[in-house]
């Protein structure tokens, strides 16, 4: 791939992740990601796509048996050598199932990242961040009159947009999304896909999806992973029209998966 700007936001260099010693769930993955793009990671279940995504913001450290090796550079800095808290603020994450904090109001959910990191803000600053973040996810008009209600009162799709707003509130460089629409209905899914296309202007997005048509609809670049290996990484157009690898072609045409 050509690097037109000469500056990648995220560089993966020989990244390996293993759950049990000697067996890599992600095997020697190297890839560079340009800013303000959407990159989709596709592949059948168990191919390591979520595992790779969670290596980027070091979520694997929750589980001591998981070992990550290689280099992951975020804006040129090795995330494996940074403070995990700093990494996770730079790389926000959205999960498969909407997970707003059940005890917090909608407002508090959006601003939660600041409180949780011990950052104190003035009321006016908070208001501004909450409004901007909710406008970013097109939720502002729907919830502006019910900010004190619990986040769990919202519909599934609204909850997921709330979770995206919560991640965006910290102004991350990178947004990691782990099958964010797989628990949602088609209408909510469509709204979130439109949203991602808008968010691309401000953020860089890496999205794991098992839905190949979703990758085709929204992503600029696509990765195809199989059994822990990165089989192919190219522009989405190239991959969906002329895949180089037989396995990619078989997956995209539905021979397996």
């Amino acid at each position: 791939m050509n690097n037109l700007t000469g500056e990648y936001l995220l560089e993966l260099k020989k990244v390996c992740v293993s759950y049990t010693p000697g067996k890599n769930a992600v095997n020697n993955v190297s890839a560079d990601i340009l800013p303000n793009t959407i990159t989709a990671i596709m592949g059948p279940s168990g191919c390591g796509k979520s595992t790779l995504l969670r290596a980027i913001n070091r979520m694997h450290e929750l589980y001591p048996n998981i070992v990550t090796t290689g280099e992951i550079l975020l804006k040129g800095k090795d995330v494996l050598k940074m403070n995990p808290s700093e990494v996770r603020r730079m790389a926000g994450m959205v999960f498969q199932r909407p997970n707003p904090f059940p005890t917090m109001s909608i407002y508090d959910n959006v601003i939660a990242g600041y409180g949780l990191n011990g950052i104190r803000l003035k009321k006016s600053e908070k208001d501004e961040i909450v409004e901007t973040s909710l406008r970013n996810v097109a939720l502002w008009d729907e919830v502006k009159d019910s900010m004190t209600k619990k986040g769990s009162f919202l519909s599934g799709g609204q909850q997921q947009r709330l979770c995206i707003a919560r991640a965006l509130a910290l102004k991350p460089e990178l947004l990691l999304m782990d099958e964010p629409t797989s628990a949602l209905d088609p209408i909510s899914t469509n709204r979130i896909e439109e949203l991602l296309l808008e968010l691309k202007e401000q953020f860089t997005i890496v999205i794991v999806t098992h839905n190949t048509s979703q990758a085709a609809r929204i992503s600029n670049y696509s990765m195809f992973m199989y059994l822990g290996d990165l089989v192919e990484y190219d522009t989405t157009k190239q991959m969906f029209t002329k895949p180089k690898d037989k396995r990619t072609e078989d997956y995209l045409t539905g021979v397996f998966g």
Partner: protein
């Protein structure tokens, strides 16, 4: 026997068996109602405002009242305040320790240390309360050279601990892992995730566990006899002997002039415990983890 009559026989047998099950299930409720009935019947006369506003009567006052066939004067106020003091201090001791141990166990389900803690908590729960009373006597009464509310609180706190530890652990385990991950993914420290996300989300379960632990120790008498001892006055000093309702019931029982008071005070104790249990149930229902 033909097929049809066999079917008839079988369905009749089913009905009889079902009836027997219903009968014995209903039977389990009988003791509670019988106890309540007995306490009401014998205690309603003494169950009045004085019970809550006056301290326990002296043997002499009670005897005089009995001779002129009046109601025995006085109440159990010193038991109510004393019990409150002992239990509040016990809660202050047991809650932080119990909740922190519960957090540890929920976060580290495996391992020798967790296993031992869990096993020991179960053992403490099965330890006779009189033994715990003796331990509190040796730990607190002896060194301080005095029976005290504090000693009673230590004994009751030890009895509460296993209940709080296990209820905290079970509640936290019920929280979805995604909640913890969501917090950490925002860059929060483990401490902040526990304090600002997990504990508030588990509040209903924790509170229920604490209420049940309180109602469990509310009626304990044996450990208090060796520690708080009892007092005929209202005492708010944790270093001095203090009364509690169960201790008063025990004292009334031993004194022929006061023995009529055991019914009203038992009724009060039972009502307090029932209320605590019902409150715990309704909170558990209202704050159920979704």
């Amino acid at each position: 026997m033909g097929f049809k009559s066999d079917i008839k026989y079988r369905s009749a047998a089913d009905k009889v068996f079902f009836g027997v099950i219903c009968f014995f299930t209903a039977l389990t409720m009988v003791p509670l109602f019988l106890i309540l009935w007995e306490l009401l019947k014998k205690g309603y006369k003494q169950f009045n405002v004085n019970l809550f506003t006056e301290v326990a009567p002296t043997s002499m006052d009670a005897m005089l009242a009995k001779m002129s066939s009046e109601l025995i004067p006085g109440g159990v106020l010193n038991g109510i305040t004393g019990g409150l003091l002992i239990i509040v201090v016990a809660i202050v001791i047991a809650i932080p320790i119990g909740i922190m141990a519960g957090i540890y166990l929920a976060d580290n389900p495996k391992g020798i240390f967790s296993g031992s803690v869990r096993y020991l908590a179960d053992l403490v729960q099965g330890t006779p309360s009189i033994v715990i009373g003796i331990i509190a006597y040796a730990w607190v009464v002896k060194p301080l050279h005095s029976y005290s509310a504090l000693a009673g609180s230590v004994a009751l706190a030890i009895m509460m601990l296993p209940l709080i530890i296990r209820s905290t652990e079970e509640t936290l385990k019920m929280l979805p892992a995604s909640l913890k991950e969501a917090g950490l993914a925002l860059g929060a420290s483990y401490t902040n995730v526990v304090i600002k996300i997990l504990l508030p989300s588990a509040f209903g379960g924790l509170f229920t566990g604490i209420l049940l632990a309180i109602s469990r120790i509310m009626g304990e008498t044996a450990p208090l006899m060796l520690t708080a001892l009892g007092a005929s006055i209202i005492n708010w000093d944790i270093y001095k002997p203090t009364s509690a309702i169960p201790l008063l019931i025990w004292e009334f029982y031993q004194n022929p002039n006061l023995v009529d008071l055991i019914w009203s005070s038992s009724l009060l104790l039972l009502l307090i415990i029932l209320t605590l249990n019902l409150t715990a149930k309704s909170i558990a229902r209202k704050w159920k983890i979704q």
